[in-house]
Symmetry: C2
């Protein structure tokens, strides 16, 4: 992962020299005032403080973040306001001239930013970094003020800088070019819920003032454990680092090296990095044939097949005693084998337990059959394995099964239609036969995630994107409340009249002002007894990556601390397809109903 560590210093007039110093001390970007004069000069003055040619265009673009003049374009004073606008527009024109794309940074001073938002919207060339203090700076001043009342303090606490950003975000129509830079300060350490909420925002970077560093016993500049944890959280969602210090600071390289170490420890490198926050339409393996690439990705999961093997092993030991081991044959049917990883797990289980197993493999993808047949001929010549190139719904078995094994689970449990498939396979099973897995449960919770919302909006120009459910590796996400169990399915289902429709309302609590952008979806499944696979964040099976969570979008609304939010989810069925509908059902009025009639995301039967 490419993070940058940026050096920010005020009052620097020699930009090439600052860049040289920054690079020599292990920084890759500098943040500087676009106008290095301390007092903003006359906006009509064309005399430059520096010419464009001191850096080449590539360097202006890639090595410099411009801090715009710290003026107040939303001042109640008309004269000051107009003057501020002129200054800011001049700054922007100069930044756009120097940088082909580039980035400018501006600091919020309070809740009122209407004029600023208008200026941000009108400059479309580069990126805007909106600098927001993580807590209201006023709070810190009370320490030194004797006149502050309890009321003053609680008023300042209620004036949460996140709300400044939240208001600006809506005013600039949630443009993906506008990102937030969160400014830490040494006088007030925020609580974890405040941190977690920022993780759902489009964080460009955090600003770390050098005063946050302390000297350890070896006289090295380090951060206290508590700050390490906080900064680690930001790093884990790909926030870059801006270190703010004064021009005479001698410890520059120590900060940079320390932060680079912290980045390495927290950056969460894994092979699936490129999937973070990317919306994918869920697979429909019942309808489409998977390709070798998809099979290969799943086959590399280090945990899933081992747990299947454990489950079959335990079932064989329970069902066939040591005495019967030599004589009693267990018929195992594998429904949907792909290129064979679970077949291998079953054969391993048989060998380890020393139980006699006849394995029927039913697979509908003729391309996968080619590879399976080759395995039978080369790897499994002395095994009792039989392959059927069939849709399991049309399969008439030569004998009934003791154990049905399947992996028909999607990220939301039943969304690859395992209930329907396994109900249909009941006819393959002996009366005392079992299914592995025997139970699956889906889970949901409300989420804030600007990144996901922006990705949904991007799709919305071509498809009804708010009526789709997506598979997505959740990264920049704030869990507004913990997941709760939604739908449960058990197998085999021997009820006379099976009804796989479901409908449930779950109620969640809002712990902090935030914006809801959608619903997270997860599942867990019991393979055999207490052998489980889970992608529920509260109980996630360690190391397993076969399933990413799901995301069901809603239109963004700001929620208030203390609110409750009720989410209604339905699993609907008609002769051709199965689909989910979802809706926030809150008094006084319900929000929009999503995917009504399955016109968006649906699973074809």
């Amino acid at each position: 992962m490419n993070y940058y560590v940026c050096l920010h210093q005020e009052g620097v007039s020699n930009i090439p020299k600052l860049i040289e110093k920054a690079y020599a001390n292990n920084y890759n970007v500098v943040a500087i005032s676009i106008n290095p004069n301390t007092a903003p000069f006359d906006p009509h003055e064309s005399d430059p403080t520096y010419p464009a040619t001191i850096l080449n265009a590539t360097d202006w673009n890639s090595k410099v973040i411009f801090k715009l003049s710290d003026v107040n374009v939303d001042s109640p004073n008309v004269k000051l306001r107009e003057y501020s606008k002129e200054i800011l527009l001049r700054d922007i024109a100069w930044a756009e001239h120097l940088q082909n794309i580039g980035s400018v940074m501006v600091r919020l001073r309070g809740p009122e930013n209407t004029n600023l938002a208008e200026i941000v919207r009108s400059k479309t060339k580069g990126n805007w970094f909106i600098q927001v203090p993580i807590t209201n700076p006023e709070i810190a001043t009370f320490e030194h003020r004797k006149d502050a009342t309890e009321e003053d303090i609680s008023k300042a606490e209620a004036n949460d800088p996140w709300t400044w950003w939240n208001k600006l975000r809506f005013a600039v129509k949630q443009s993906p070019k506008v990102k937030v830079v969160v400014e830490l300060n040494d006088s007030d350490r925020p609580n974890m819920e405040t941190i977690r909420r920022w993780l759902g925002e489009p964080i460009e970077a955090i600003i770390i003032p050098s005063s946050l560093f302390v000297r350890n016993r070896s006289n090295y500049c380090v951060l206290k454990k508590e700050w390490q944890v906080i900064i680690g959280h930001f790093i884990s969602v790909r926030a870059n680092i801006i270190i703010s210090t004064n021009p005479n600071d001698k410890a520059l390289s120590q900060y940079a090296d320390y932060l680079k170490k912290l980045i390495n420890e927290n950056c969460d490198t894994h092979a699936l990095n490129s999937y973070e926050n990317m919306l994918e339409i869920p697979l429909q393996p019942l309808f489409d044939n998977l390709d070798s690439y998809t099979y290969e990705v799943f086959e590399t999961d280090p945990v899933k097949y081992k747990l299947y093997q454990d489950a079959v092993q335990a079932a064989l030991l329970d069902r066939v005693s040591e005495e019967e081991a030599k004589k009693k044959l267990t018929v195992v049917m594998l429904l949907g084998a792909g290129r064979g990883p679970i077949a291998r797990a079953i054969l391993n289980a048989a060998q380890i337990t020393n139980r006699q197993v006849r394995l029927y493999i039913i697979e509908k993808n003729p391309n996968a059959i080619r590879t399976l047949s080759h395995m039978v001929k080369t790897l499994w010549t002395n095994k009792d394995v039989h392959i059927f190139s069939k849709d399991m719904r049309d399969f008439s078995p030569p004998e009934l099964a003791d154990i049905l094994v399947s992996e028909l689970l999607g990220s939301f449990g039943d969304n690859e239609l395992s209930p329907e498939c396994l109900d249909g396979a009941l006819k393959l099973l002996k009366p005392d036969g079992i299914s592995i897995p025997y139970k699956s449960t889906s889970y949901i919770n409300p989420l804030m995630s600007v990144a996901l919302h922006q990705n949904v909006c991007q799709l919305a120009s071509t498809v009804p994107a708010f009526d789709y459910g997506y598979v997505v590796l959740l990264k920049n996400v704030y869990h507004i409340d913990e997941p709760q169990a939604l739908f449960e399915f058990t197998h085999p289902n021997r009820e006379d009249k099976i009804d796989n429709t479901r409908c449930k309302v779950l109620t969640f609590h809002v712990k902090k002002d935030c914006v809801m952008h959608g619903v997270g979806g997860y599942f867990d499944t019991h393979l055999y007894k207490d052998i489980c696979l889970s992608i529920n964040p509260l109980t996630h099976t360690a190391g397993m990556f076969s399933w990413f969570p799901m995301f069901f979008p809603t239109h963004p609304r700001t929620l208030k601390e203390g609110d409750t939010i009720s989410i209604k989810f339905s699993r609907c069925i008609d002769p051709d397809k199965i689909w989910y509908e979802w809706q926030v059902v809150n008094s006084p009025e319900d929000w929009e109903l999503h995917n009504k009639g399955g016109t968006g995301y649906n699973m074809r039967l």
Copy 2:
């Protein structure tokens, strides 16, 4: 540039081994029959010839081009046709299973490919490489046939494989996923016009049979000069190389090394590679302010400013004799200075010629003024230079100019409104004053270019893309005929009533069957006497890259050898804007009129 050199061999059953051999001999891809059995086997047979697992998914994707079975899905024999379809669909299903994106190759056997086109359209996952012999293979057979009549031969010659491809291309709706692979053969060397026409096609690769190689005196495998030239042309438009040989060939690495050398010699590496075939909307410097990045790109042109300097030098010497050199002041006005490169050229010219020059610089971009002012203060302290931050249309000079210098030219000459600007600047000029440049001429010709057409189509979903003119580095282009002069403007224009509208019809000749996709636009300009800048391909100033040509799209139509094609171009003016309209005006009916009323591309005044 990343080219691949691919090894193609038939009848190979061990794919990993072939890849190993290919890599050991310096190839990076292999092309193999997807079904290595010589006779296509029963399409219903699920027994594989090889399993998916012999390669991992990445290798299937990146190292293998699959040749589909050589069956005839357009056979007049119903039974053969249906059987062929089954075989081909089975091949495709297997290829799609093995390759996540991937590429399949199929060979055209003749002009009739209706069913093949339907199959190509229906497989949307990967790329299709359509293999086409460069000349009709039948022609080569006549050498060995005594019964062939003159009529047979001329009939075979008329059955040009390009027309097979052309028909298929329209039948698959010119999908960007369908590219052509041109197959050379040792019995018939095509003429240069045939080669040039292929350069306008979306060429993926050329197939070179090993029989094209001859041994030189050192017993090395080399290509004859004529073939080197032909292959060099294909390489210059980014065609990859497929070498076709038999499994026992011992000279594999010699072919690969030879071709890699040829690639290096012909691949036309330059810093602007990434602009090839990319459509850009022309700049509007009169209306928009350019940024530093754009200035910097132009400033690096190694030729343009030297020619400006030469022109000013020649003019100074002509206008001020050696005797007057010390006393006579020449007033030079530079209209639009950017960050100063032409100002530098003028001051150089003055110094070299030892003539007294007062330079007025008029520049409307306040951001550029910052850098110019800095130059006056630092570089030009002892020069007679004066800067005016003005639109030249509003400028009242302190005195009149002897020489107006400007560079207001776009890729089509007048398309950055230099005629209007220079007419407006006439008031700045002494009665005997001159303009550098003093004449500009635009040129056009009809073009075939599938790549450009596809890029226009991609834009067409959001804008009226066929009503735009584009600036583009022409690469995959066939010049249907040579450019001819279109509009001319001279400066200063001292006519009483100036009319800068223009309208002209130019007639071109079609040398070979082809498809017209649009009109190429170029210009040349005379700076002083015979000192010229030109981007007309016939007279292009060597080494100059400040201007790419223009491209005005038309809707594709097939043209026949011997046709004439008349293109009507108009330069239209209304109070707010100037625009071009273009149209092919051919009997019996005119083609579509593009950009009527300037609703697409226009230049704002």
